[in-house]
């Protein structure tokens, strides 16, 4: 039963055909993420316009169905949002994956939240949480322009 919750259709779809799996032209922010335990890698490219709105976001990388789907869904949902909204969505998502039962932000529509909640199945698989969160931590790093490679094993 748990496996079906983990590998829902939407995850399999995004995992197999990830959206925004490319490199944004003229990106102005980017960051790399790495999970050394499994070798998963992600590179997030972000193009913010002068009003700090996400004009485009994309990613390159390789990984399991969970990590690819997570990056794919994430990039879909934050496109067109303002930077402060992106930060709020990221933090809400990370809280949900860690401990909360649901998403609390007022930015995403209900259908978008439902889509994102499809990733909540990883909560039953503690070893896989990092697969789901890698791209989100990497997005934060890109926004903050910290130039720091996200590593799931460093604190």
């Amino acid at each position: 039963m748990n496996l079906k919750e983990l590998y829902q259709e939407i995850i399999l779809d995004h995992g197999k055909n990830p959206r925004n799996l490319r490199k944004t032209e003229n990106f102005n922010k980017d960051a790399k993420g790495n999970n050394p335990l499994c070798g998963d890698k992600v590179h997030i490219y972000l193009k913010l316009n002068e009003n700090k709105k996400v004009e485009d976001i994309s990613f390159e990388g390789q990984g399991c169905a969970i990590s690819m789907a997570s990056a794919s869904i994430m990039t879909d949902l934050v496109k067109g949002k303002e930077e402060f909204e992106v930060k709020e969505i990221v933090s809400d998502f990370l809280d949900m994956i860690k401990e909360k039962d649901e998403l609390n932000n007022d930015i995403l529509h209900d259908d978008e939240k439902t889509k994102l909640m499809c990733l909540s199945g990883v909560k039953n698989y503690p070893m896989r949480v990092k697969c789901a969160t890698l791209s989100w931590h990497t997005l934060t790093s890109a926004i903050n322009n910290s130039q720091e490679e996200i590593n799931t094993e460093s604190n």
Binding site: N2, L3, K4, L6, Y7, L12, K16, L37, C38, G39, D40, K41, Q62, G63, C64, A65, I66, M68, Y125, M127, R128, C131
Partner: protein, 406 residues
């Protein structure tokens, strides 16, 4: 040899794992423990505990004897020439670090080369990498061929006048390739180069004879040999242990300590500073007894049968690609499933109680060469049966269903 009876000696198989019988196919990572080993740790702490080699009271003397008994057992098991050629460490990783550090300090200089192979586990690369900075040495890699082997010829190709030491794995933890250690040692020695063997995967599965192999150093991990965690063995020829400087300083490794200077202890104390993993070393004697009771020849035969059976079954499965095809192969199969990432495979198998490993298995150099970021790996131990292989295959077929693949 009766596998059902042997399996009964491992208490872990009496328990359900997430409501399933455990199908443990991760022994290359760490092996399960027989009851005798577990009991020995408990008994030592319960009835016999004391620190070794220092006090003169009854328990201290008894513990010291037990500790040294393991050294004697190991010497016999690996056919070392001298008991003092056995140094206890916290694992094979520490054993290799010990040699890289001390050999590096004394014998490596700017521009010297250390030759390792593309099959090496990170533990036989990273310790040498440290010397790139401290000594400005270069590290050369003998190439792996398309079958996942490193041949004598590929080693020979990389040896030159700058090569000062060679580090090779006995048995690859990814492709299962068994390297021709005796030939490599003989070639290296003909050029005056010492050889360190990473025996993590070799030691639990192959007959060990240090005098026959003639290698200079052999690193062993206790927990992969059905022993406790926290204990490893460095075998080193006596001439090297006498020649090389100490690794760590502290109690137990000294002869005399004065403000003006320090002299170091005799072998093997010189390399065993501080309180060692006493209970684990003592319990490791039970692991040796367990292996001796079954007989390494029988273990090799059993694991070879399992390997051949598993290869036959998995090769029939069209969606499975097996990594490497070495002529001489131990009980390790790394593979990928078409259309499904190894981590997803491992999670789905886990739901059925089938424990495998997924990732780069601490061999990123090899995975890069293979063009794979990760693989799934099934590895065998003495307790595995053909039923385990059948269950692995069934579970692999389930992966395809979950991922809606044909």
């Amino acid at each position: 040899m009766n596998i059902a009876e042997i399996k009964k000696e491992f208490p872990i198989f009496n328990n359900k794992v997430q409501n399933n019988d455990l199908v443990y196919l991760d022994s290359a990572n760490s092996a399960q423990k027989p009851k005798a080993v577990i009991d020995r740790v408990y008994d030592f702490y319960t009835k016999e505990f004391s620190n070794v080699g220092r006090s003169v009271h009854y328990l201290a003397v008894a513990a010291t004897n037990l500790y040294e008994n393991t050294r004697a057992s190991v010497q016999k098991y690996i056919n070392a020439n001298d008991k003092n050629e056995i140094v206890f460490t916290k694992g094979a990783t520490e054993a290799i670090n010990l040699i890289a550090n001390t050999f590096g300090q004394k014998h490596l200089n700017d521009g010297d080369e250390v030759l390792i192979t593309e099959l090496e586990h990170h533990s036989n690369y990273v310790p040498w990498h440290f010397l790139r900075k401290s000594k400005k040495i270069n590290i050369e890699f003998a190439e792996v061929n398309k079958d996942g082997e490193v041949t004598l010829e590929s080693i020979e190709k990389k040896i030159n006048s700058k090569t000062k030491i060679i580090g090779v794995t006995h048995l690859s933890n990814v492709t299962g390739a068994i390297l021709p250690i005796k030939d490599i040692v003989s070639l290296a020695h003909s050029k005056g180069i010492p050889v360190l063997v990473d025996g993590c995967q070799g030691a639990p599965h192959l007959k060990l004879d240090m005098q026959d192999l003639d290698c200079d150093f052999y690193a062993i991990s206790g927990h992969k040999m059905y022993g406790p965690t926290g204990i490893g063995i460095l075998y080193a020829k006596k001439k090297w242990l006498e020649d090389l400087p100490p690794y760590q300083g502290g109690g137990g490794m000294i002869s005399e300590v004065k403000k003006s200077g320090i002299s170091y202890g005799e072998l093997p104390n010189k390399y065993e500073a501080g309180t060692m993993a006493t209970a684990q070393v003592i319990a490791f004697n039970e692991s040796i007894k367990f292996l001796e009771k079954i007989g390494i020849k029988n273990i090799e035969k059993h694991e070879k049968e399992l390997l051949n059976y598993a290869l036959e079954i998995l090769r029939k499965n069209n969606s499975i690609n097996i990594v490497g095809n070495p002529a001489k192969k131990g009980g390790v199969i790394s593979f990928t499933v078409e259309g499904i990432h190894p981590h997803d495979v491992a999670t789905i198998l886990d739901e059925d109680g089938v424990a495998i490993r997924a990732g780069h298995h601490c061999c990123q150099i090899l995975h890069e060469k293979l063009g794979l970021s990760a693989t799934a790996r099934a590895s065998f131990g003495v307790y595995n049966t053909k039923d385990d292989i059948d269950l692995l295959n069934e579970s692999l077929n389930k992966c395809k269903k979950i991922f809606n693949l044909k």
